[in-house]
Amino acid sequence: MIGIENLSKVFGETHALDNVSLQAAKGEMLVLVGPSGCGKTTCLRCIAGLERPTSGRIRVGERMITAIEEGVFLPPEKREIGMVFQSYAVWPHMTVFENVAYPLRCQGARGDALKARVMEALKLVQLEALAERYSSQISGGQQQRVALARSLVSAPKLLLFDEPLSNLDANLRLQMRIEIKELQRKLGFTAVYVTHDQTEAMAIADRIAIMEKGVLRQVGTPRDIYERPANAFVASFMGTTNLLEGMLAAKDTAGAVVTTASGLEVRVAVAVGAAAGDAVRVSIRPEALQICAAPGGVNAWPATLRLATYLGESILYRADMLGHGVELHARPSETYPAGSAVTLNADPADCILLRE
């Protein structure tokens, strides 16, 4: 549906986008996520035509909308793409109805047909009753819905979302997240969605593309990304994790063993592409580390519990494991005083080998 090839954007000395290539299939929700300044918004604005990339091509369906090398750069209004802005950009001098009618008026729609389509779009976002209000008379969440209806009304094949939920309060954010997802299922549009919030990305995405400093670091389903991060950046950006640095000591049929500088041995189940002697890192999620009663066995390490934080559904312990500070989640019933000597254990399948 949408294809981005070798997209680059240079601002002066900085590479806001560095040779980014991405695809999204029809009806897919592709989420661009990353810390601020990673280039995700620039990427979105290049798709919209609001920013002119330095090089690269962008195709929507069969239509080439940007191909800098060939001199193709359609202005935003010719791209037939819907967009929801972070500030909503609901025009304050127009009513809700007029805001939503605007794209249709641009296409020359008039009269009853226009009215019917606007009301249909407003119905989708449950705003029929507020059609005659001005933006100053409705709440932020409602403005968000107006922006959504406005981007949907002309039934574009592709919708762009630029951090649409970041100005809403937490509860509303959760609710809108679900509504956007449902609308997408119902209407079948393709969407590119930018956010800096990794939980939001996980919840809403069909596939996630993680960016850092203008470079695409990993693309995959939320599960892929969380369970099989390709590198340390992705592992620590998507959720929290414990990273242990070490060297690949030996490979065998059951995976490999990594030894850290302090002598900790970690067995990992998958070690594709790494050879003995490589400098590697191992990512172990806090929920993968368990406190077990008896020492001994595979991946059982002696540790000292330092600090306990009661979180309700679990207890977060900070522990010292042969000089490595780690975090782990334990059941609320597993209460230990600070300073307790315990054994920590993790399944080799949950210990992810990272090569960079």
Binding site: P75, M83, F85, P92, S136
Partner: protein
Amino acid sequence: MTIRLLRASGVTPAEFAILSSVTLLVLWLVFYPTLWLGWAAFHKGAPGDTGPWTLDNFALLFEGSYWRLVGRSLYVGVGITLVATLIGVPLAWLTVKTDMPCKRLVELSAILPFFTSTFIGGLAWIFLGNPTNGLLKLWLGLPVNVYSMSGIIWVTGIYMAPYMFLFTAAALKNMDTTYEEASFMCGAGLWRTLTRVTLPLILPALLSGMSLVLVISMGIFGVAAILGFPAKIVLLATEIYAKSVLTPPNYGAATVCGLTLMGITAGLIVLQRWILRSGSYALVGGRGFRLKLYPLGKWTPVALAACSVYALLAVILPGLVLIKTSFQSYPTPRFSQWTLDNWTAFFEKADLLQTLLRSLYLSTFGATFCVVLTAVIAYIVHRSNVPGRRFLEQVSVMPIGIPGIVMGLAMIWAYIVWPIWGSIWVLVIAYMTLFMPYGVRALGATIVQIHPELEESSRVHGASWLRTFWRVVMPLLRPGIYSTWILLFIIFIREISAAVLLTSINTRLFPVLIFEQWTEGYLNVMSAGALLLSLIMLAVIALFKWGFKIDLSPAYR
């Protein structure tokens, strides 16, 4: 009651003394002369020598010619506003929103006329556009005649365009770009986006600018006199002058004209507030993305040409023609008759030099007093929570609706029996009153940008209100104060409308001197004077901008 209110808002007696004395001073400055004007309308006789109550002065209102005069003044005012808008708004859009090259030059040419004056521009245009030996006629064969209604409208319009430029540019810069981006994403092209989104969004700012320009234009004296009198075109502002100065003076009629003019300008301001009362939507900014510049493409040369024409007509041609004439012994299209006499006159004749020094003196001290007063007003209005601060603000910006010449007339009535009459102080008081609104606005805009917690932190750590003002607020305000001072200095030194009725031989100011040179027909000496005044203003700006590295933008934003 009052005491309790004050206690509640945490004001100490010392602070109360400052607040109340400032409020009384402002009330005095604004209402004392204007109430005198109202009183004078109902009395016979001249200022200082008034007779019994009468309604005779209002006989004027029953003459058809009087209403034609009012209509003519309105027509000229509206015309000037339209010219200024049609020039200023496109220039602002081109400089703020497009990728036009040479923006700084265009901006300079749009701001320079703001820092000189319509009066000087008008003087230059006499040489360019007079119907007998104007250069545009003799050199280019253009049938131009500045001694006409359209002449007044055109010349004043091009020099009022900077106001519209500044208002529009500020509004465009403050507007969240995503409003326009959203329009493009909806499939709207440039024209639709401009007319349906951009213009409606900046409309409140545009209307504010237009009403300010209209109010100023209605009260403009200098251009209206030098371009209107030769063609016997009289407007309200010049009629007030004629009625008070020409023999025999008719102060009663002048006063009624003055009240009419003030009624119109005050009415316009009320109208503007009323129109904008509901339409004032705060333009919520999104994230500060770089302003997206619209590519002009093949239109770039057209845009540049339009900007150059404006620069040529407003700055370059008038400047060059003044320079040329100031070095010639009589007005001539030829390049001969060179002389230095016009220039040396200003330094050799004691009274000319003294007039120049007096103007500098008045502007320096006047601007200083005015900045101090308006800083305190702006601080009280925006930072204290004393009851009545809104009222203080309302009163302090009222003089925006008082045309200079009307103020001059009112000052005559109000102060003629005072011992300061005939001294420079009458002018200082008049100027401070007239231009207080500029200071209150400019400094208010600076103050609201200072986070209140900076002051609260000072109070919490043991400093009094006064100490906080002096040690925290003033230093933070400094850039705003400097630029406001320069703005006021420039306005004071070039002001002619208020001065023309108030100057005697001992208090003559430089712009009035230039006007007198015009009256007496010494056009070449006048050119030198106008240039000298412009050079002084430019020198002050240059000194502050490059010498003291002061950002001048807060003053006119």
